[in-house]
């Protein structure tokens, strides 16, 4: 069943969808692919897609691992708010930025660990276990910021959100590096196989000798860590921690990115790079809507129509139909 040649990979509907969305953007706005060099960095709509898509892509990297174990993490948006709030409050109190970033990332790890403990040791269903932190986490973040937007002028935090490396925005660099490391970790070691085994059948995996508890703790903690990175990025981007709005509903975009990337919510087979492609499809669509000049009342309608189309193209029924068409074409002699 598993097609592994390169051609089949590139023919995946996700790439077709991304190309189609980018093409429509180009039709709507001919300057879409124009990239200029400005103030020591690339500047253009495509760069915007990468830059704005980075926080969701980073969430999706962590979310992919969680979903592959047949779980889900609804709390990542709230964890983003917590991490941003912690970092902002600490630097505005005069703590060195390096310490603030370390504490914010640790907060993400602790949040992820908390989810993992609820799921593994208390055996609460992931959707409920992480819902707790989704609701309570935002409250925690508001408690940290005392309900107001905490602004800062710290160069390191601002660099994480808006700086650039080799001409690319820092969020893009962070997302790319994280994607590479995570993919290597799961594909160059047995980790990916173990995650898939737990996702397909947790009891069977345990009987096969996999310590599924440890593995689940690991993936939820990793998701929390990814969320904390995203939180730092969005806080650095606006030079402030907005506990009410940072990461709001972004867990849903992350889940959508994973699903568009082809990872099943029922666990098992997964692909981190494809989830990142999913995140880029979503952002390409958002950016397209912004530059299209449609009135904002249509935003969500357009978005949902495109997503339904992508999901239909990926459905087993569509795959069967395409397979039948291609075999029929091959049979026809020319």
């Amino acid at each position: 069943m598993r097609r592994s040649n390169l051609k089949a990979h590139l023919l995946r509907p996700q790439f077709a969808a991304l190309a189609a969305v980018l093409f429509i953007n180009w039709l709507l706005f001919p300057g879409f692919f124009a990239i200029t060099w400005q103030d020591g960095r690339f500047f253009g709509s495509v760069i915007d897609v990468l830059n704005r898509g980075a926080p969701v892509a980073i969430l999706a990297i962590g979310m992919t691992a969680v979903i592959a174990t047949r779980g889900v993490d609804l709390s990542v948006g709230a964890v983003m708010a917590i991490s941003g709030a912690v970092a902002a409050v600490m630097v505005s109190d005069g703590t060195p930025a390096v310490v603030a970033v370390a504490v914010a990332l640790s907060a993400g790890l602790v949040c992820g660990l908390w989810n993992g403990v609820l799921v593994t040791y208390l055996d609460i269903q992931p959707i409920i276990a992480t819902l707790v932190l989704m609701v309570a986490g935002r409250g925690l973040a508001q408690l940290v910021t005392e309900g107001s937007i905490v602004t800062f002028a710290d160069p390191l935090l601002i660099y994480i959100g808006t700086g650039s490396l080799l001409g690319l925005p820092m969020p893009v660099v962070i997302a790319a590096v994280l994607m590479l490391l995570a993919t290597l970790a799961v594909r160059r070691t047995a980790l990916g196989l173990l995650i898939e085994a737990v996702g397909v059948n947790r009891s069977a995996a345990r009987f096969a000798g996999i310590s599924s508890r440890l593995l689940l703790l690991l993936v939820y903690t990793f998701a929390g860590f990814c969320a904390a990175i995203s939180g730092l990025i969005v806080a650095g981007d606006i030079r402030g921690a907005d506990a009410n709005n940072a990461g709001l509903w972004m867990e849903l975009d992350a889940i959508l990115a994973v699903v568009i990337g082809g990872t099943s919510l029922l666990g098992g087979r997964f692909s981190i790079p494809m989830s990142v492609v999913g995140a880029l499809i979503i952002q390409a669509m958002n950016t397209g809507i912004l530059i299209s000049g449609f009135s904002p009342q249509f935003n969500l309608v357009v978005k949902s129509a495109v997503i339904i189309l992508i999901l239909v193209l990926q459905s087993p029924m569509a795959a069967q139909w395409i397979a039948r068409r291609t075999t029929a074409a091959e049979r026809t002699p020319r």
Partner: protein, 323 residues
């Protein structure tokens, strides 16, 4: 007979109180305040301003935070009625479902003043409502821009609030009314930034790309200051100077927009005053002491602030209010 006697006694005491209290304003009066919660910086500022105003007037303010729940507000109002307060202020979290509890307050002869939001209930159930005119806020912003650009051609991009929310609808309508008379001022792009900084920045980035790197944009009008702050950063990232190359006008008057004005990056903001309680207390003073029934709708001032209005002072004055 008994009832009539009681009524007479109450009336007598009431008359006595009103004659003696008239000179004292609201000093010593007990007023209950049911606040929605603290979902935004503006709300927190409203709470702290209300408390400060009450203290200034010597009012014993009973404060109840409803944490965004109507049932908590209804509970709080019932509690105020049971305590026999002199008046009740309510910032209603939703528009419907108030008839029963307001009828109870009316039967207990306790005047109710609504703050910053209206409700769908018979008007005789409350004394008055104090609110801003959101259409006027937009109009003041639009008229400022028209006056600012003179006869020059000016293409405006608009950052709307959350789609379908009443401030977004009204502030858009008001701004369009404000620029209706000037043929040289027109809105070329309009998108929602959800009232947040990050969305305001993202949408402005898109606008700048779509309009030739910002060369075609003369001004940005944001439905709130937070989106304007985000847009200012996007303009800077595009290598332009906000406030000079692209004019920035927004609504709310939160501290951070004054900080931007000090830096020369914002040009005007229209205040949504957090002092809804001031006019409410004045109306209650006149009603309780002199029996003057106020108008049903008290509209607060929509004051325009520009860099000429001591932005540093405004920033310092507002910073401590909890925005």
């Amino acid at each position: 007979m008994k009832i009539i006697k009681k009524l007479a006694l109450v009336a007598g005491i009431g008359a006595l109180l009103s004659t003696t209290a008239h000179a004292e304003g609201l000093t010593g009066k007990i007023i209950g305040f049911s606040q929605i919660g603290s979902e935004s910086g503006w709300r927190a500022a409203e709470t702290s301003v209300t408390k400060a105003e009450a203290e200034k007037l010597g009012i014993d303010l009973k404060f109840a935070d409803a944490q965004q729940k109507q049932e908590n507000q209804i509970k709080a109002i019932r509690g105020f009625i049971a305590q026999g307060v002199d008046a009740i202020l309510v910032a209603p979290v939703v528009a419907t479902g108030w008839e029963e509890v307001l009828t109870e307050a009316k039967e207990a002869n306790i005047p109710v003043v609504l703050l910053d939001r209206g409700i769908e209930a018979p008007e005789d159930l409350y004394l008055t409502s104090v609110a801003s005119d959101q259409v006027k806020e937009g109009r003041v912003a639009g008229e400022w821009l028209v006056g600012q650009v003179g006869d020059k051609e000016c293409k405006v991009v608009e950052l709307q609030g959350t789609v379908g929310s009443s401030p977004a609808i009204n502030r858009k309508q008001g701004f369009e009314e404000g620029i209706a008379g000037a043929a040289n001022v027109s809105i070329i792009r309009s998108q929602t930034g959800d009232f947040t900084r990050s969305k305001g920045k993202e949408v402005m980035e898109g606008f700048l790309k779509a309009e030739g790197g910002g060369a075609g944009i003369c001004a940005v009008y944001a439905h709130n200051d937070d989106m304007a702050v985000g847009a200012i950063q996007a303009i800077k990232d595009a290598g332009l100077k906000p406030g000079t190359d692209i004019l920035v006008v927004s609504i709310d008057a939160v501290p951070d927009i004054f900080a931007a004005m000090v830096a020369g990056e914002a040009n005007a903001t229209v205040e949504l005053t957090p002092n809804m309680a001031g006019p409410a207390f004045a109306a209650l003073d006149a009603y309780l002491n002199a029996g003057t029934v106020p108008e049903k709708f008290i509209i607060t001032e929509s004051k325009l602030y520009t860099p000429a209005d001591d932005p540093q002072g405004e920033y310092d004055r507002r910073k401590g209010l909890g925005y």
